[in-house]
Amino acid sequence: MPEWRWPAPYTDHLELIPDEELLYRRISRAWLKEVDSEGVPILDSQAFQDLRLNDANDKGYELRCMSVGIGHILNDHGGPPAILGGHPATNYGVAELRVACIRESGQQGIMAAPEDGEPWHAVVFAVGRERRSKAMEKAAARCATWWQLPSETDPDDFT
């Protein structure tokens, strides 16, 4: 358990992460079960769940939240693929989320939360709640598009 902890309630960093910003998030193949009419895996709410509370606490967060990468900082470190880190591109894709869309309902905010080796790290959190609801996960899914699919994928893998 880290001694230093991120202050809670979290702060929506409107200037550090303006509405025009893009966020990125690793997407596990385990979440991809349905495809659209063009055979592209659908990004649905399951891909935008919070960290478990224990994991959040271990990382120094008081409350649950969802990890993302801030686009303009990622661009300074090799672009969105950098968010994959050592995770194999065959098992993980990268989704792109629009910040303005995340904030649209006023229920979700984004706090810059750089971590060791991940200066681009930020968290999406629920405003005034201890965790994001299923409705917020669904709302996040509506804000997301694919930046990069898991590599070497066959559409049949997702059906």
Binding site: R26, W31, D44, S45, L51, S133, A135
Partner: protein, 145 residues
Amino acid sequence: MAAYYGGESLSDSDIVVPKLEGGRSEPPTWLEDARRELRDLVMLETGWDSYGALAVEPTTIDRANALIKRIAAEAYFAPQPTIVPSTEGGVRLQWTRGGTYILVQVDAESPPTLYYEQTEGTSWEGTLGEEPKPLIKLLWEAATF
């Protein structure tokens, strides 16, 4: 109910499900596919999502299987659910049809939860069995949109 994929079996009373009307003698064609997808979830190891997600325990799969079997038996018209893991080691059953989105989450110990939303702006989240619109009606609307 018979044991399923290791772990202890669960009686129907362990799962809180609204009383469903109807029923039929033949299970829907998707039932075996759904059970296979459930079995596959046990192969996920802790950290499978790269953000620290828990593995899905066999007992959780048992609980989800019991619920799926009950839905298949009593809401025979229900479309096939999409089955995905949750970060907490649970199982999520999802239906997206027309303007209806239904999500049932089964966890290891806590009661199953339900979230649904419909195009007219209706949404609800809480413990399964306490929803203002019964699950069977939601599934029917999803099946007949």
